[in-house]
């Protein structure tokens, strides 16, 4: 059974929709309350980044099943300005918006896997995964 959901991010209400969908799937997959909250918070951060920096984009939420491992993958992608300096963006306390500068590095710490791809002028794609223990 492949479970996949997609949310277009066009306004700040869509951030809430994305995290509701993520929380529901996390719950269905059997994640505990702490992991549900980690995943939901991570989705909130990534959705907000899309909305703040690119204006629009999409968040794809997927249930993963690899042999004995089960988990969840979230892909957040936009075609915005991209992240000029990924290393800088991944530093604690570095912020170009009104956040606390913990968005991306914080998201990475909440998840088991974190990949970021970006090209200046072409947008950004962040993929995160959490595995059921």
């Amino acid at each position: 059974m492949e479970k996949i959901e997609e949310v277009s991010i066009n306004n700040s209400e869509d951030i809430i929709l994305a995290r509701q969908i993520a929380r529901e799937m996390a719950k269905e997959l059997g994640f505990g309350l702490a992991d549900q909250t980690r995943i939901t918070t991570a989705v909130s951060e990534l959705s907000r980044n899309i909305y703040t920096f690119a204006g629009t984009g999409r968040v794809v939420v997927k249930a993963l099943s690899e042999s004995a491992k089960k988990g969840m993958e979230i892909i957040a992608e936009d075609r915005g300005p991209g992240i000029p300096d990924i290393e800088m963006a991944m530093q604690d306390g570095y912020s170009t918006n009104k956040g606390l500068g913990q968005g991306l590095p914080g998201t990475k710490r909440l998840m088991d896997e974190f990949e970021i791809k970006s090209e200046a002028g072409k947008g950004a794609t962040v993929t995160i995964r959490k595995w059921l223990r």
């Binding site: 700040s12 549900q36 909250t37 909130s44 606390l100 968005g103 998201t107």
Partner: protein, 104 residues
């Protein structure tokens, strides 16, 4: 969004966040809180976040800023009812809520 529900009990202003806040409502809420503090002149402000299921860096910033602003107006803020999962998530993210005190 409706005005935020607040309750004045003795010298304390109590506010409960009951809805999932998106960015615009969060900023409105901040302004509403400051107005209520100004109008009611409490000794202290209690913000009940026990119904809040997610505190991301945006909402964390908003709560910290609000507490700092309220302090500037001469009133201390106490955040009550932070869920354990939220405490865990904030800690792991490296988010520290400043400007107020905490109570279970």
């Amino acid at each position: 969004m409706d005005k935020v529900p607040t309750l004045k009990m003795g010298d304390t202003l109590i506010l409960t966040i009951q809805v999932e806040l998106h960015d615009k409502t969060a900023i409105r809420l901040q302004e509403d809180i400051l107005e209520r503090v100004y109008d009611t002149k409490p000794q202290g402000l209690v913000i009940d976040v026990s119904a809040v299921g997610v505190v991301d860096s945006f909402l964390g910033r908003m709560l910290s800023d609000t507490a700092t602003m309220v302090r500037t107006m001469g009133v201390e803020t106490v955040l009550v009812g932070i869920q354990p999962e939220i405490a865990i998530t904030l800690q792991e993210m490296g988010l520290e809520l400043k400007g107020g005190a905490f109570s279970p």
